[in-house]
């Protein structure tokens, strides 16, 4: 079989793999020998973006560290569906302590490993990844996260953002997008759903810590995600990766639409995909086929109140404005080359 440089062939780098792609250009996920860091038999909902995102990210980190990896995990869906006694899905050394302390636990692991490494400098070096949901990251775990950032501990923290506290039954978190319905921001009253002007975008806050690496990704762009994990593992110090992981249950989407929803979030500009080093934006994943925000919102029941009984044109305009602002701010139409 002959390989051709990826630029011109059938699917470019958009698919997971491809028999025609030079082996070194294939994704980690394309390999029959990938780690499957999180094994089959987990209890995530059908089509769970978080289960997928976690395998993508941790497999990539395993690849980058040649299997020398330890993971700390916050309470949340990922933890609950992967480790109910008597079975665990994890095939990597993994610890779950609490909901809000994962960054600190990872700091502790990193410190321990650093001491061990100093004592036995010829042993294989082991790296640390911390992971949690948006609630465990942007809300309750934020203090520990900021501390870890500020000390520049050698930890890659991965936030799986599904826009809410899903494990407890879909409540609002500070990562819940405006207008979205959750159990605590119901679609009632004059301003149904989550309010505008609240919430926070932790990647930007992470950048403000001037840590060596901050990036966002989605489960729809596997290669971008893997490249970011790889880059993150090349760097020492505190690193932050924020991955958008659609939640069929919480978003009210069909289980087969998980990747499509992530793709639409990126293509509309509502979720900017970019990377930054030492507080400066370095790249943006360009929008390929720009779409109006409605394309993303419509398939989601959490936004149903924006379309019926009467279309909320002004709210849609506000959301479009958010997308447009992202596009401008992160240079999403030209891949970050502002």
């Amino acid at each position: 079989m002959s390989y051709q440089p990826i630029k011109f062939y059938q699917t470019g780098t958009f698919t997971v793999g491809n028999r025609l792609l030079a082996p070194e250009e294939r994704s980690v996920q394309a390999s029959a020998k990938r780690f499957n860091s999180i094994n089959s038999g987990h209890r995530a909902c059908q089509g769970c973006g978080e289960a997928l995102g976690a395998r993508y990210a941790i497999d990539a980190a395993m690849e980058a560290t040649h299997g020398q990896l330890v993971c700390a995990n916050a309470t949340g869906c990922l933890e609950v569906f992967s480790t109910p006694y008597p079975e665990t899905s994890w095939q990597v050394p993994w610890i779950h302590s609490l909901f809000g302390n994962t960054a600190a636990v990872a700091t502790g692991i990193a410190a321990a490993l650093k001491v061990k490494q100093k004592k036995a400098p010829h042993g294989q070096e082991i790296r640390v990844v911390a992971q949690g949901g948006d609630g465990g990251t942007t809300d309750i775990g934020f203090g520990c996260l900021s501390g870890m950032f500020e000390r520049n501990d050698d930890v890659l923290y991965i936030c799986y953002d599904n826009g809410g506290y899903m494990n407890t039954g879909i409540q609002r978190s500070s990562a819940t997008p405006p207008a979205a319905r959750t159990a605590t921001t119901p679609a009632v009253g004059v301003e149904p759903g989550n309010v505008f002007g609240q919430g926070k975008f932790v990647p930007a806050i992470a950048m403000a810590h001037e840590i060596p690496y901050v990036a966002t990704a989605t489960v729809a762009d596997l290669r971008d995600l893997e490249a970011k994990v790889r880059r993150a593992m090349e760097i020492r110090g505190a690193r932050y990766l924020h991955i958008l992981v659609p939640c069929p249950l919480g978003w009210g989407t069909a289980s087969h639409d998980t990747i499509r929803m992530a793709r639409l979030a990126k293509e509309t500009g509502l979720f900017p995909v970019f990377s930054a080093e030492h507080g400066e934006q370095k790249s943006a994943l360009a929008i390929r086929r720009q779409l109006p925000v409605e394309e993303y919102l419509k398939p989601q029941k959490r936004y149903a109140h924006l379309f019926a009984p009467t279309p909320r044109v002004e709210v849609l305009a506000q959301l479009q404005a958010l997308a447009d602002r992202n596009i401008k701010r992160y240079g999403l139409l030209d891949g970050g080359k502002q």
Binding site: Y85, P93, I95, H96, S97, G108, A112, G143, G147, E150
Partner: protein, 420 residues
């Protein structure tokens, strides 16, 4: 080596001798001098092979210790009072995960009202968190207990709190006998974790356990503490042999052999109590048959040892620096449980809360009353009844009379309270 140093410094040096690998710290009085001392030793290179991490909260401190311990490093932290409460969730978690972390609690009252002085409310609030809790009577014992604590924790794979009275011990400059590194190394072997995060043998630590196994998990934690009841005296004995002094153990008795009345307490107040008992035993003071029982191990609680020690007495007085608001004594409850069916007269004395001085004079009066069989079931030592009653009156009259603390201060004539 004999040294005249501050209690905190003594503990810091002892901890350093234990070769900790990760220390995480967040400041709170009266614990600060301990971690400051350790930080300095790490930075100067005096303590090698150790990461000292300045964290952003006690919650993070315990969480870092959880991570480092799970990754196989000997881990240490220290806190007190509000700090202990702030880390509470992680404190329970460390025990649940069976991680042998050693933590000094420089005992201090809990607010509100905020108060920096000593009592035992902080560590006793964590009574059921699954940690072992050892109380030091002197600075020497505080120092020694830390060495024993690492050994105990790592053998059982359970975390241990060494409790020492804030200011009274932490800030007191006393003479201590500091062991050598060689001595400590002989007593305390390197940490061999029972479970560890290791890529060569990946496990998942911290699973979610449902009703089908949770009771068993809890029982096993309990069983481990019961094992500690056996190990603690053995380790203390071994320590005694090697270091040439008595430190630790489950309980320590003083002049109990013929005592009809036994005073039970924890921590530094035992010194004052022993002085008072010595005085009351003088024939010129009535030659009272009174003895003392110091509890070193509050968790696990040494029910049998206490029952055995009280076998010959008629009554006991539990003097404790803690109050189970709405119930009474905390230690006393456990002691009563230990002597169930022995037909003893038991008294609870709540004393020294928030640093209120416990004087020999007050104790002498109290013990005389006790020996005379006239002590009430529960006594609040040196309570200002005038102030209390006035407030109670006021409350009876007006349902809402404002914050109690402010009213009392006003009555006591204190213009402004100092806050820490």
């Amino acid at each position: 080596m004999l040294k005249q140093i501050e209690g905190s410094r003594a503990v810091a040096e002892a901890v350093a001798l234990c070769r900790p690998e990760v220390i995480c710290a967040y400041p709170i009085s009266p614990q600060t001098h301990i971690v400051e001392g350790l930080g300095e030793m790490v930075k100067s290179g005096e303590l090698q092979g150790c990461e000292f991490i300045n964290v952003e909260s006690e919650f993070a401190a315990m969480s870092v210790a959880i991570g480092s311990s799970a990754a196989g490093a000997r881990s240490y932290t220290a806190t007190a009072s509000q700090g202990l409460l702030f880390m509470a969730e992680a404190v329970f978690n460390a025990a649940g995960l069976g991680l042998p972390i050693v933590m000094t609690v420089a005992n201090r009252a809990i607010g509100a009202p905020i108060n920096i002085w000593n009592d035992h409310s902080d560590s006793l609030s964590m009574r059921d968190c699954g940690w072992l809790q050892l109380f030091a009577e002197t600075n020497q014992e505080a120092l020694d207990l830390h060495i024993q604590a690492f050994r105990l924790a790592e053998e059982l794979s359970l975390p241990v709190m060494v409790c020492m009275d804030g200011f009274i011990l932490t800030h007191a400059v006393e003479r201590v006998d500091m062991p050598t590194q060689a001595q400590v190394d002989t007593y305390l072997p390197p940490y061999e974790p029972r479970q560890v995060l290791d890529p060569n043998e990946p496990v998942s630590i911290g699973a979610m356990v449902g009703p089908e196994a949770f009771m068993e998990v809890r029982y096993l934690a309990h069983a481990k503490q019961l094992q500690a009841l056996e190990r603690i005296p053995q380790l203390a004995a071994e320590f005694g042999q090697q270091f040439g002094r008595d430190s630790g153990g489950l309980i320590r008795t003083y002049r109990c052999d013929d005592a009809e009345t036994v005073v039970i307490a924890m921590g530094s107040v035992l010194g004052t109590i022993k002085d008072t008992v010595d005085a009351l035993r003088q024939p010129e003071n009535g030659g009272l048959k009174i003895g003392v029982l110091g509890i070193v191990s509050f968790r696990p609680f040494p029910h049998e040892a206490i029952a055995a020690a009280l076998k010959r007495c008629k009554r006991f007085v539990v003097l404790e620096k803690s109050l189970a608001v709405g119930s009474g004594g905390i230690v006393a409850t456990d002691v009563r449980m230990a002597v169930t069916g022995m037909g003893l007269q038991g008294h609870t004395v709540i004393a020294g809360l928030g640093g209120r001085a416990i004087t020999v004079k007050s104790l002498a009066a109290l013990f005389e009353k006790a020996c005379a069989g006239q002590l009430e079931l529960t006594t609040f030592l040196d309570l200002d009844w005038k102030a209390v009653n006035k407030q109670l009156e006021r409350e009876k009259a007006v349902r809402r009379s404002g914050p109690i603390a402010e009213n009392l201060l006003r009555d006591a004539g204190v213009v402004a309270a100092r806050n820490y």
